[in-house]
């Protein structure tokens, strides 16, 4: 058990810190959250800077255009960029964390050459078309149909909770290519397509979240033509292809956020000492417990990263579900505590903690609800039987 960094890792950290200190002051001002084209330009501009400095796709394999960095170097990257207050992955999220890794692992050489470099350069933005109004936790029951017509699939149906749909160039789309029957269980018969978002027949309708912003959208598909060449993986094998993607989502996606939560916790303590609420032992102890919680979550991250480094895959295992269950809950607890620290200020939308408190409500739902995650932990790690 070794928590110290090697000389090579420390020199990587030092180089990154130096680059961040030099680069961050030159960034343009952050756009208004409601300005989607502005947000896209800001996020992709940051990605381009990372690309030019050699930090894009750090943990992607070399033959996918990445840097082939170790999981530990990737962890250092996420830790240091967050500590320095660098921009978030933002609109590049799906491309860098879902679609890109999936194409890197399952795509043909042509597909990798077509789609991966623009993601790394920040030239193209992806969105995700997985969930449907009637296929949420039970994703495999999705009904968006695709049938063959010459060299194209013709796709009809609807998708929901699609982030960045208004500004995306591509959509990683799950479609049904074989109807469910006695011979075809619902997990088969699904295919993974890269759909160009400018194709005729696509309608995007933004959805307003309870925080008041339009962070995601419904996407309606009316006989949209997608070339068969845009299918990644074999026809009807999309479920397996998708699982590759989802394991990424449940792995390192929250590393920077744990660092951010620890900073927010320190800010809460500072604010409570200032406004007198620190004298309340119940609140003080609550903050102390959260400190233990986020400290342990950071250690669990290091544990999981070391595990994937030893396995040599870089792909996080089901242990990501253990992390996600605890983290999503802890994040909500953190912002509940923030509400106590703020007192009446907790009712003021002008305070960023109030907005973050609202956003935190999605954490036990998005990317697999806590209930589904508990099923995964119970069935795949503990080996309990499947049931209802």
């Amino acid at each position: 058990m070794d928590l110290t960094c090697t000389e090579e890792e420390e020199s990587f950290r030092a180089g990154l810190r130096e680059w961040l200190a030099r680069t961050l002051p030159g960034l343009p001002p952050r756009p208004d959250p409601t300005n989607w084209p502005g947000r896209r330009a800001y996020d992709t501009g940051w990605q381009r800077r990372l690309y030019d400095a050699g930090y894009a796709g750090l943990h992607w394999p070399l033959d996918a255009g990445g840097r082939g960095a170790t999981p530990t170097q990737h962890l250092i990257f996420l830790e240091e960029t967050e500590k320095a207050g660098a921009p978030y992955v933002g609109a590049n999220f799906v491309g860098l964390l879902h679609a890109g890794p999936t194409i890197a692992s399952e795509g043909t050489p042509e597909q990798r050459a077509r789609w991966l470099p623009p993601v790394l350069r920040g030239d193209e933005v992806w969105c995700q078309g997985f969930s449907e109004p009637d296929a949420g936790s039970d994703l495999a029951s999705l009904r968006t149909r695709a049938w063959r017509d010459g060299d194209d699939y013709v796709v009809s149906g609807s998708k929901i909770w699609t982030s960045h749909a208004e500004v995306a160039d591509w959509c990683e789309l799950l479609v049904r290519t074989a109807p469910v029957s006695e011979d075809v269980p619902k997990h088969r018969g699904i295919s993974w397509l890269a759909m160009p978002m400018d194709a005729p027949g696509i309608t995007v309708r933004p959805l307003r979240t309870l925080a008041g912003s339009t962070e995601f959208a419904e996407v309606f598909l009316d006989e949209v033509r997608v070339p068969v060449a845009n299918r990644v993986g074999a026809e009807n094998d999309g479920w397996r292809v998708t699982m590759v993607t989802l394991s990424y989502e449940r792995g390192t996606a929250f590393v920077g956020e744990v660092v951010a939560c620890r900073r927010v916790l320190a800010d809460l303590a500072r604010e409570a000492r200032k406004n007198g609420r620190w004298d309340d032992a119940v609140l003080r102890r609550r903050l102390g417990r959260l400190s233990a919680e986020f400290g342990a979550l950071w250690r669990l991250t290091q544990w999981n990263v070391s595990e994937s480094q030893r396995a040599g895959t870089g792909v996080p295992g089901v242990g990501g579900s253990v992390f996600k269950l605890r983290y999503s809950h802890a994040r909500q607890e953190l912002y509940e505590a923030a509400g106590e620290v703020l007192g009446p200020g907790a009712l003021d939308l002008g305070h960023e903690w109030t907005l973050d408190r609202l956003s935190s409500l999605s954490y036990t739902i998005a990317a697999g609800t806590s209930q589904i995650q508990q099923n995964i932990v119970a069935e795949r790690i503990l080996g309990l039987p499947k049931g209802r």
Binding site: M1, D2, L3, T4, C5, T6, E9, T72, L75, L265, A266, A269, A281, R284, R285, R286, L287, G288, R289, S291, A292, E293, G295, A296, L297, R299, L300, Q302, W303, V305, S306, E307, Q309, R310, G319, V322, L325, R326, Q371, Q373, Q374, N375, V377, A378, E379, I381, L382, G383, L384, P385, K386, G387, R388
Partner: protein, 296 residues
């Protein structure tokens, strides 16, 4: 960074697991519980000494094994899994100062104090040496059939400063117990059938088991990391999370066992009672939370 067990660490852990499985298995545990007044198995204590349990951190030039805190938490985790009785922590920490402790020839206990509730001394009557001020110690009818307890009025409190290493080793025992009760619950949930299926197929049961594992793995990350850094606030966090994992794990294990869980015959209550005792020894949850808050 390589925050995983090394091969040597795995071998050490497996070696002690095997030793305890051979020398203190479920049958031996029940025999100890049902023997009436708890007495310390001196022969086992010396065998532990021979195996290097107490001398693990004593430097090699002093005749010890010369390993560190990370290795210590691994063997205490195994002791916790097996519900091994005795003042293991105090004897371990006395290995360099008390002649014979490292060999397992001398049994050492000590006052493990929480500032708010006075001092508690486990195994006072059986120990050869008691460290800390035990004058006026009064026996309790201990809730744990395998941990006799004395209370020190006024609690040697100021005299006994906080011992982070003791807290860490207790936390490691709690971690072992949490892992074990999770395994016990899962095994029972797979075997016991109702409504024509294993009860582990019901989500209500599944989710209890999943949360037991989550608490265990969070505590594991905290305990192992605290052993590597030796940092006092990090140890406070480890004790807090491990106490919770052990106590709530035993509670949930009891619940999964249904009526059987409420019987003397099932081992579940032994884990719960020991977890309560360990949570009451060393730093309390309130103290840990205050220490962590102060460090924010």
């Amino acid at each position: 960074m390589d925050f995983q067990l090394s091969e040597d660490q795995r071998a050490l852990r497996d070696g002690f697991r095997d030793l305890l499985a051979g020398r203190f298995d479920g049958t031996a545990l029940r025999a100890a519980v049902d023997s009436g007044a708890p007495s310390l198995d001196r022969a086992l204590w010396r065998e532990l000494g021979d195996a290097g349990f107490f001398a693990l951190r004593v430097p090699e030039e002093e005749g010890g094994v010369g390993l560190g805190l990370p290795e210590a938490v691994l063997i205490f985790e195994e002791a916790g899994r097996a519900l091994l009785p005795g003042p293991l922590v105090a004897t371990f920490l006395a290995a360099r100062d008390v002649e014979g402790a490292a060999r397992g020839a001398v049994v050492v206990t000590s006052v493990l104090t929480t500032a708010d509730s006075g001092g508690l001394v486990p195994w006072l009557d059986e120990a050869d040496v008691a460290r800390g001020d035990v004058s006026g110690a009064v026996p309790l009818r201990s809730v744990d059939p395998l941990t006799p307890l004395h209370r020190v009025p006024g609690g040697g409190g100021a005299a006994t400063p906080r011992q982070p290493e003791a807290d860490l080793l207790i936390a490691a025992e709690q971690l072992g117990s949490a892992g074990k009760t999770c395994e016990m619950a899962v095994r029972y949930a797979r075997e016991r059938t109702q409504f024509g299926q294993a009860i582990g197929a019901f989500q209500a049961v599944k989710h209890l088991c999943a949360q037991m594992l989550v608490r265990t793995e969070i505590a594991r990350a905290a305990v192992y990391a605290a052993a590597v850094t030796g940092d006092a606030p990090e140890i406070a966090g480890a004790k807090l999370l491990a106490d919770e994992a052990a106590v709530r794990g035993a509670r949930d294990c009891l619940q999964v066992h249904g009526g059987m869980g409420f019987t003397w015959e099932a081992d579940v209550h032994l884990h719960l009672k020991r977890a309560w005792v360990r949570a009451g020894l060393g730093q309390s949850a309130a103290e840990a939370e205050e220490e962590l808050a102060a460090a924010l």
